[in-house]
């Protein structure tokens, strides 16, 4: 599910990213990011201390979720997760927005894994949900690595929303990014011209 954009280095075969659904058997692998305070720092949840917490989270939250995927490398073992949540339609109106969030185990930072996962997830949900017009993501103002992931994945930075989300009991300023349907129509053009 690679989107090659001009100037981006080609992925090594063992860096190729695939997305698949989680099962309860992934609970141990889930802990590789869920138990890491460095990953949990920019999440609402605290780092997990026991694999049972991961098991409960998978069964109570991941399996019933509208769109939740494991980020896997070539060997199929999850190294992170990515989820897309449709925004509730206001006053009985139509759905047209969704938000994406992701987490990657520390050992796999800095190699483009999150960027490839975000691109793949965007491709998948825009294909699966014809009603989707806006896919948004927020990154903490103090998380420049996550901001770069979203920019490299083709999202547009829109502004800083002050005290937007509470993380670990403190209100945080968040940078808002979006990918909209018309961005993707433009992105597709170079792809089509490169097909044989």
């Amino acid at each position: 599910m690679e989107l090659q954009q001009g100037g981006a280095p080609a992925a090594e075969p063992d860096d190729e990213v695939t997305l698949r659904e989680f099962t309860l058997a992934d609970a141990e692998a889930f802990m590789s990011w869920a138990s890491d305070p460095r990953v949990a720092r920019f999440q609402r949840r605290d780092a997990y201390e026991h694999v049972d917490q991961a098991r409960h989270y998978i069964s109570d939250h991941v399996l019933p979720h509208p769109w939740y995927r494991a980020i896997c490398l070539a060997d199929g073992v999850p190294v992170g997760s990515i989820s897309v949540k449709p925004a509730p339609a206001e006053g009985g109106g139509r759905l047209f927005r969704a938000s994406v969030g992701y987490r990657v185990a520390r050992a796999h930072w800095g190699r483009g894994v999150a960027t490839r996962a975000v691109r793949a997830a965007a491709e998948a949900v825009f294909a699966a949900w014809p009603w989707l017009l806006r896919l948004e993501a927020v990154a903490d103002v103090e998380n420049p690595a996550s901001q770069r992931v979203l920019e490299k994945a083709g999202f547009v930075r829109e502004g800083v929303l002050r005290k937007y989300i509470v993380l670990k009991g403190r209100p945080r300023d968040m940078v808002m990014f979006s990918l909209v349907d018309t961005d993707r129509h433009q992105q597709k053009q170079p792809m089509e011209s490169s097909r044989p």
Binding site: F96, L133, V156, E158, R162, K163, Y164, S178
Partner: protein
């Protein structure tokens, strides 16, 4: 002389005054509320939307309702984040009334709704008049959110400017 603006609760007895703005597409086109074509619809809207609302006020000039202002807490946010909406009868535009009313809202709503930290306002990118009102009322511009708000009557999603006023912004 500047108009004397006040806020008070809006009730069923205000249905006729309510019609002055709630039936006017020039006023309501940027809001998500349906137009009230009849007095019966106005009464129903007041009964269903206004009376049980966490924070809804009539905007009055010299004691008479000429518009409305309301603060809607978001469902998932435990009351710390809310959305500001307002509408003013067309005849009263251009006199600073909306900005004065919104300044009164930010002066009171953070005390009335404990836990409220962030009041947001979202305007259509084409609604320049409303953007000026929010800036005059002391809101901070944060950015343009693309395809953020539903179009009227099932139309395409629109770009919007998002503003905020924080409880900590109060002087």
């Amino acid at each position: 002389m500047a108009p004397v603006v006040s806020l008070r609760p809006l009730g069923l007895a205000d249905a006729d005054a309510f019609m002055a703005w709630a039936s006017d597409d020039r006023v309501m086109r940027f809001l998500k509320r349906p137009l009230c074509a009849t007095r019966e619809q106005a009464v129903a809207q007041i009964r269903d939307t206004v009376l049980g609302h966490p924070w809804f006020r009539a905007v009055c000039v010299a004691g008479r309702p000429v518009g409305q202002v309301s603060v809607w807490p978001y469902a998932d946010e435990g009351g710390r984040r809310a959305n500001l909406g307002y509408a003013l009868a067309r005849d009263h535009w251009g006199r600073g009334i909306a900005a004065a009313a919104i300044r009164m809202v930010v002066g009171r709503v953070f005390d009335d709704l404990p836990g409220l930290e962030r009041l947001e306002a979202v305007t259509d990118v084409d609604n320049v008049r409303s953007q000026r009102v929010l800036e005059k009322a002391g809101f901070q511009t944060e950015g343009v959110l693309r395809r953020y708000i539903a179009g009227r009557g099932g139309g395409e999603a629109r770009d919007a400017v998002i503003y905020s006023f924080l409880s900590s912004d109060r002087a």
